[in-house]
Symmetry: C2
Subunit: 211 residues, 2 copies
DNA sequence: GCTAAGTTTACCTCCAACGTAAATTTCTCC
DNA sequence: GGAGAAATTTACGTTGGAGGTAAACTTAGC
């Protein structure tokens, strides 16, 4: 009698999905994304190729498993910020915490994973899409926070500026990872650079959406 | 005796390339990008399918013909700005000129073309890549203008912020185009919104890289 | 247990992407 | 102006991702 008794069927589904994703990521990291076929992944996971494409309509989705968490991260930071804190302050604080925790969500993905993305045009394009969806989600959260309409141009512009800082720093962490730096070294460098970047926006956005 | 007598061969190559691109764009706009096959394009252009893929390794390249001009646009604005003008001022001035001229490079692509991109995930991803390459080119130009190293993080952050404004306004123009507004109406709306957006960055970047 | 529902599988088509070699066109030099 | 050289276009074949369908199998609920 398991606690989360959502049924054997659903449990197996989750396991199969995770198994496929894990095998796929492993193969992508060792032999590259483009040169791994879905048939290989299916063999490694001991399922049919159609099962693979049932779980993951697009091949690249197997590499990015926690995309929803990534996309929602900035919007959630804004929604959950304490009263009196500006949006800029909240995003800055969350980024600093991410640096301290060396969080994969802000770019600490490890050398193998970073190389996998860097060497694949498909995965790079996919990551761009995720950054973009994250910006859109942030814009929606800003519109919500300021009580403006969901497609308010000020919210969208502000979201673009704030997300830009996170995106640049994400790439910076990736780049330093690929250059062989340790996470601790990267954290030290990035903490300073992020302080500059967020500081740059302070005069423009410091008083925007103070909750 | 033609003036630019670079040979019949090269002239025919240019013509064939243009013919394929034109037929492809026409088909993409009328029946959608994904539901147009390369074989159809080849038939319309009266060439072999292999000739199509010789000229355009990727199907999506047929839709974006002047990508290099787009990618270089912001960097060139910066490089060519007069002495005493800030980078922000130059990019703002060029955008305003683009609005006045209803320039396709800043987003005035027309309803058919805009719809074609909007309805195709592949083309949307491709456009994102172009925005990204444009930002990278801008970062390089900023590094050049400030005499810093090509991967200077301040230049990259600044480029991200400036390119973000252009990107948001590009999408805004696309969006209004899809909503059925005329170019004149769009120009009027966007001129005001761009003034706000660039104004927002004035305190942060107004004194950056005054040439 | 038995039946209904959901999951996995084998088999299928389509098409983009890529390689190779042959045929055709253009260029160059005599 | 014609012959050989070079480049382009073409036909043909292969691979692999994406998507559909229906049958076999597994789980859930009665």
């Amino acid at each position: 009698m398991s606690i989360e008794t959502t049924g054997l069927r659903e449990a197996k589904k989750r396991e199969t999905r995770q198994l496929i994703s894990d095998q796929a990521t492993r193969l992508f990291m060792t032999q590259g994304f483009e040169s791994t076929t879905i048939a290989e992944i299916a063999t490694a996971a001991r399922v049919a190729t159609k099962t693979v494409t049932n779980y993951f309509p697009r091949k690249e989705d197997m590499a990015f498993d926690h995309q929803d968490a990534f996309v929602a991260s900035l919007a959630e930071t804004v929604s959950a910020r304490p009263a009196g804190e500006s949006v800029l302050g909240a995003l800055r604080r969350t980024f600093e915490a991410g640096v301290a925790a060396q969080d994969p969500v802000i770019g600490f993905a490890g050398p193998d994973f970073s190389r996998m993305i860097h060497e694949s045009p498909t995965l790079s394009a996919c990551l761009r899409t995720l950054h973009d969806r994250r910006e859109e989600a942030l814009a929606a959260a800003l519109a919500e926070a300021t009580g403006s309409s969901p497609d308010d141009i000020t919210a969208r512009t502000t979201a673009a500026l704030l997300a830009a800082v996170h995106r640049v720093m994400f790439r910076r962490i990736q780049e330093l990872t690929l250059a062989g730096r340790t996470n601790d070294e990267i954290a030290a460098v990035v903490a300073d650079e992020a302080a500059d970047a967020f500081g740059l926006l302070e005069p423009a956005l410091g008083h925007y959406a103070v909750g």
